[in-house]
């Protein structure tokens, strides 16, 4: 007992010291709360300040946002959000950039995880990073130069006018029938377009490269043009499997910014649905993983068990997937005694069936040998890349937003953060398997303790230019929404999904592995596999290039086929 308090004491002392040092370096502390510090730094001091912050143990980059605040205070701004897990503390570093030529020093050498964030800020907001040459990243290659869509001078209509590639071209060359295929803002269900280039020598992967953002849906811009209460429904459609985490994060961000007091009962209902979402998402992943390993029987059973959870979700919310019950200030649907009883029955059954099934599935020799010691991710890399969710927990990093930065009703329940240290595909699988049981237990506790009372705040007022963060432990890892409020709509809304954080780890897992293990390794971070997924297999010795769907690679090595 004593040792634990002194440990906490020491650590917050370290935090105090670091914050004081940061102040000595010319940073201004804007706000200091037990769980939260905001510091303001000029651009030339940024590198020193970040270096100082990185001295903290377990610090990681949670998200970074560029924001166009020229009409408010005359500059662009960058917000770096860091988390210190063991201290449950969030540090936001804000730097202003000149409105004419916004540029900041790059942090890539100090914080490895900043890579994509800088690229994206350059692409969508036109921020330059000294010392980095950045190319088109999110935007398509045929996007006009120097048009930065997230800047406030462009409305959605202006941007639509700018987009006319294929159809216009088809008319120009007088193609007979040009078809417009509408894409987004919907999520293509299970599959998501991603693209991996695998460099192989014989059957071994030498290196890998990832190209993404084939379907950037402009959701952040869209949200900035919708009313506060409409955005949760858009947010929920960011992911086709775990959408509730997004609407919850969005609502939390606003509630946090505007200090809205959400009723306890609403917190409980949100947590219950979040855990149910984790259960069905993990069961889905297990099914897909077993399918990729050629064990289709397992796939069928995993999904059969999952189906009961989907029906349960519909019973509790009114919809199987996009639940649509989150609104700013609470939830829209209550849970009554009858539903609680049914819920408990379903959970009992799922637990029983899943236990028997997973026991069998993981004892299939081919499944075992394919998972063990493949797709290795060392703990050091996981820390450096600021990874989240089962990907981090499979490599021994005990990061879990539910414990580290408690929200909703998680402080009222006890549960374990599942950690495995092997860093292989098996470790990531076992994290998810154990978490299914953990989640079932959490829902039981929540249903048992759910307090009486209202489920939403009736009225609240929006005050513009307040900052809020909402973060939720999604099945794939931390989801974090950064929000600056406006009068009727968010002024700036920044969404960071877990796959964004975790994907850069995949090339590391793939390096020097068997080609046959590539599909399960890529799937092991649970990136929502793709209907258009293509793997370019480049045979270095012969110089041949083949384009093969990943599932063909996995089929080729199926047992018994």
């Amino acid at each position: 007992m004593f040792s634990q308090t002194s440990y906490l004491y020491d650590n917050s002392n370290i935090l105090d010291k670091v914050i004081k040092n940061v102040g000595g370096l010319g940073a201004e502390v804007l706000e200091r709360k037990p769980d939260f510090t905001r510091v303001f730094v000029s651009r030339d001091k940024l590198v020193d300040v970040i270096k100082e912050l990185m001295k903290l143990e377990n610090v990681y980059l949670r998200t970074m946002t560029a924001s166009d605040e020229r009409e408010v205070n005359g500059f662009f701004k960058l917000y770096y959000v860091f988390g210190v897990d063991s201290l449950h503390h969030t540090i936001i570093v804000e730097i202003p950039l000149s409105e004419n030529s916004p540029s900041a020093p790059t942090l890539i050498d100090i914080v490895k995880a900043v890579d994509w964030y800088e690229k994206e800020a350059h692409d969508l907001m036109g921020i330059d990073f000294e010392g980095r040459k950045l190319h088109k990243f999110v935007l398509p290659d045929d996007w006009p130069d120097k048009v930065y869509p997230l800047r406030k001078e462009y409305g959605i209509e202006d941007l639509k006018k700018l987009y006319k590639p294929v159809f216009e071209y088809a008319k120009k060359v007088e193609a007979e029938a040009a078809v417009i295929i509408p894409i987004g803002p919907y999520h293509p269900a299970l599959h998501e377009p991603e693209y991996f280039e695998l460099y192989v020598r014989g059957e071994r992967v030498v290196d890998a490269r990832y190209v993404g953002f084939m379907v950037h849906r402009g959701i952040e811009k869209l949200g900035e043009n919708m009313k506060y209460d409409q955005v949760p429904f858009l947010a929920e459609r960011i992911c086709g499997i775990c959408g509730f985490v997004h609407s919850t994060s969005y609502c939390q961000a606003i509630e946090n910014a505007l200090k809205i007091d959400v009723p306890e009962r609403a917190h409980f209902i949100r947590s219950i649905i979040l855990e149910i979402e984790r259960i069905h998402s993990h069961l889905l992943w297990l099914g897909v993983a077993l399918h990729l390993l050629g064990y289709d029987t397992g796939f069928m059973h995993a999904w059969r068990i999952r189906e009961q959870v989907m029906v349960l979700a519909e019973l509790l919310t009114g919809s199987r997937k996009t639940y649509g019950i989150n609104i700013v200030g609470g939830v829209r649907r209550d849970i009554d005694e009858n539903k609680i009883r049914k819920c408990l029955n379903v959970l009992d059954n799922v637990e029983k069936e899943f236990k028997t099934f997973i026991d069998v599935a993981l004892s299939v020799p081919q499944v075992k040998s394919r998972l063990r010691d493949t797709g290795l991710l060392p703990k050091g890399e996981a820390q450096k890349l600021s990874l989240v969710g089962p990907t981090a927990r499979g490599s021994g990093v005990p990061r879990d937003v539910r414990k580290d930065y408690p929200y909703a009703a998680y402080k009222h329940v006890s549960f374990d953060v599942i950690v495995y240290s092997e860093g292989d595909n098996m470790a990531r699988t076992l994290v998810r398997v154990d978490e299914v049981f953990e989640s079932i237990d959490i829902v039981r506790q929540l249903l048992d303790k759910i307090p009486k009372g209202p489920i939403a705040v009736e009225n609240w007022d929006a005050e513009p230019y307040k900052i809020g963060i909402g973060s939720v432990e999604a099945p794939r890892g931390e989801v974090i929404h950064f929000l600056i409020t406006g009068r009727y709509s968010p002024y700036r809304w920044r969404v960071r999904a877990p796959t964004y954080q975790n994907l850069p780890a995949v090339p590391i897992m793939l390096r020097d592995s068997e080609l046959a293990d590539a599909p399960i390794t890529i799937a092991s971070i649970d990136p929502c596999f793709s209907c258009t997924d293509r793997a370019l297999v480049i045979e270095i010795n012969r110089g041949s290039i083949k384009e093969v769907p990943l599932f063909v690679i996995s089929n080729k090595f199926r047992f018994g086929v």
């Binding site: 409409q230 059973h301 019973l315 919809s319 649907r333 069998v360 004892s363």
Partner: protein
């Protein structure tokens, strides 16, 4: 016995679980939210639902002297926000979800309202029903003012205040 063979008795026990939808009835729980239905008698054409609808599946369209509340089910996400917000409780959430059609126009449902003309300038400005409703609730509203469009109303009130100057 090798452990993984144990899947066979499990499979035998559960049997076939796939439903032969659409030949068998789909499972819908009592909470399910489907398409909406607007009651033309209760609806006053106030437009509150069109302002909350996240995907803009509901819209108010002016066509000559009619005001149309159009519901395009093709965009509807079955959220039910419109039903929550409607002051007349004119919107019901149904359990319908099998809505495919080969004809796009079948996906539109219109509720028509007669528009009131401003007695002064002749511009249409509000549905007759909504105006009647407001008049039944706000007793202090003089008849001659109520029948003016917002613009003419402003001018008229200004005139009265300034004594016609």
């Amino acid at each position: 016995m090798v452990k993984f063979v144990k899947i066979i008795p499990i499979a035998l026990k559960v049997g076939t679980v796939t439903r032969k939808y659409p030949f068998e009835r789909p499972l819908i729980t009592e909470s399910f939210r489907g398409a909406i239905e607007v009651d033309p008698v209760k609806c006053t054409g106030c437009g509150a639902c069109t302002r909350i609808c996240p995907p803009k599946a509901l819209s108010l369209i002016r066509e000559g002297e009619t005001l149309i509340l159009r519901y395009f089910v093709g965009k509807c996400i079955f959220c039910g926000m419109c039903a929550d917000i409607c002051p007349e409780k004119a919107i019901a959430i149904t359990k319908e979800f099998e809505l495919a059609s080969e004809n796009l126009s079948e996906l539109n449902v219109d509720v028509e309202h007669e528009l009131k003309k401003c007695v002064k300038c002749g511009a249409t400005f509000v549905s007759t029903k909504l105006l009647n409703k407001v008049r039944s609730q706000v007793e202090a509203l003089p008849d001659d003012i109520a029948e003016l469009c917002p613009n003419c109303r402003r001018l008229e009130i200004l005139k009265r205040f300034t004594g016609g100057r």
